[in-house]
């Protein structure tokens, strides 16, 4: 099931002939769900936990899926799961402690310390800017600019018209460039 085939007849047919089982959905969409989680604002360190929660829901609810828009259905589950996760994140981290090290984000040996530092600093600036944008614009922006989804794919996921996606992207880019401009001005002035 390719991402653009998760809607309409393909998914409905797969559901009807029994080929739309959980293992197949998981194998096809796990990487997408992981990318959506980050785009929706899920912490990098918790991506694995959130993905697990998402697919627990998927496994439980898959028999109830109507076959209309598999991508949109998965994206909606991911969005609600990330939202719930973010809501209880503070309380949960206070109680259970937090795994700060992402096992898949360990430093690569080919990167020198200076390169790593530059990259980390750029990521920090990027996250700071993204955190100042509205949820809808940020999500569209990250999905398009960072995760590389097309406008049509985003429309499919969000279950909205493509024109709405372009509008959100337009405003998101304007906001982002404004933030970059402010950052540059601050850098010139100095601390």
């Amino acid at each position: 099931l390719p991402l653009n085939g998760g809607k309409g007849p393909a998914a409905t047919e797969a559901l009807r002939n029994g080929s739309l089982d959980f293992t197949r959905v998981y194998g096809t969409f796990f990487s997408h769900v992981a990318r959506w989680i980050r785009a929706l604002g899920g912490p990098m360190a918790d991506i694995e936990d959130i993905a697990q929660e998402v697919f627990l829901v998927v496994r439980r609810r898959l028999p109830e899926f109507d076959g209309e828009n598999l991508v949109g259905w998965l994206y909606k589950i991911t969005r609600y799961t990330v939202r719930d996760h973010r809501r209880r994140a503070w309380f949960r981290h206070v109680l259970s402690g937090r795994r700060d090290i992402d096992l898949d984000d360990m430093p690569h040996s080919q990167d020198g310390p200076a390169a790593q530092l530059d990259r980390k600093e750029a990521q920090r600036v990027l996250h700071e800017m993204l955190s100042r944008m509205s949820d809808k614009r940020r999500t569209a922006f990250v999905l398009f600019e960072i995760e590389g989804y097309s406008g049509e794919e985003i429309a499919l996921m969000e279950d909205i018209p493509v024109s709405t996606v372009w509008t959100r992207l337009y405003h998101a880019r304007r906001d982002f460039l404004g933030l970059v401009n402010k950052h540059q001005t601050r850098e010139k002035i100095g601390p």
Binding site: F30, A34, R35, E48, Q52, L56, R92, H93, E145, G148
Partner: protein, 272 residues
């Protein structure tokens, strides 16, 4: 078709070029195969993620238990009594109050004595002393000191040192600290009798002793040490040289305790 900022890092517009470089620092999120396998294994086993599986029940319970224990320890330290010892204290006091009379009956009944203020401690005084000091020894000095300092009210609060409690407590000083700070809710006036005895025998202040005895008899007309208090009253009156008052207390003693153990010693003919 909108072009991505990431593809415009070489743009002539420095702002767009800079924005493209910033976005380029964040790589697309590509989960590893190891993560994919881990999550699938956990989902197939229908296990909740670590944080939501353990954190929501175990840790709040542990934190609550720690808070509760800390609060209890602080309260116990603050009051210097603790919660269970207070219950034990009440029970022990009740046993002691009942046991004092039995004890005194046992070793005083066979000791007829006389009251003679000029010839040193008489057998009656000795018996009374022995009885009271056996029960209240550890607090006698404290009571006397309190009375001397003019703190009769404090002295009468709870100076009784139950022998049972004295054996139970881990140290005399600690027990005394607790007794001194305890409330007067279980006071039976024994401290007043002890104070009167100390005042009469050690400070030789018969007037003050008589006043304390009267206070005790007024507050506890049927107290556990009523008999001893009346005997002390006769002795105090004799020490003051008030023969009339001495006879009056002796007659009252005869009337209240016709078979009392100090009856022989307190006969009007024996006292001064």
């Amino acid at each position: 078709m909108m072009k991505r900022l990431l593809e415009q890092t070489d743009s002539r517009d420095p702002l767009i070029s800079r924005a493209g470089r910033i976005i380029g620092s964040a790589q697309p999120n590509a989960p590893s195969d190891a993560m994919r396998r881990r999550v699938l294994a956990l989902v197939v086993r229908e296990r909740q993620p670590f944080a939501s599986r353990r954190g929501w029940l175990a840790r709040p319970a542990a934190i609550g238990a720690v808070l509760l224990a800390t609060t209890a320890a602080a309260a116990s330290f603050h009051s210097r009594e603790g919660w269970l010892p207070r219950a034990y204290r009440v029970a022990i006091e009740r046993v002691r109050t009942a046991g004092t009379a039995v004890q005194s009956d046992a070793h005083l009944a066979a000791r007829p004595t006389t009251v003679d203020e000029h010839a040193g401690p008489t057998p009656a005084e000795t018996a009374l002393d022995a009885h009271l000091e056996a029960a209240l020894m550890t607090d006698a000095e404290f009571a006397a000191a309190s009375v001397i300092a003019g703190r009769e009210a404090d002295a009468s609060i709870d100076l009784a040192a139950p022998p049972v409690e004295a054996r139970v407590s881990r140290g005399a000083s600690r027990a005394k600290t607790r007794r001194a700070s305890a409330s007067a809710t279980w006071d039976d006036g024994a401290g007043t009798v002890v104070a009167a005895m100390a005042m009469l025998r050690r400070q030789h202040d018969a007037a003050k002793a008589g006043q304390l005895i009267e206070d005790y008899l007024r507050a506890h007309p049927e107290g556990a040490l009523c008999e001893e208090a009346m005997a002390l009253a006769v002795e105090a009156a004799s020490a003051r040289g008030d023969a009339r008052e001495s006879r009056r207390f002796a007659a009252r003693y005869e009337r209240v305790f016709p078979n009392g153990r100090f009856r022989e010693a307190l006969r009007p003919g024996d006292s001064h």
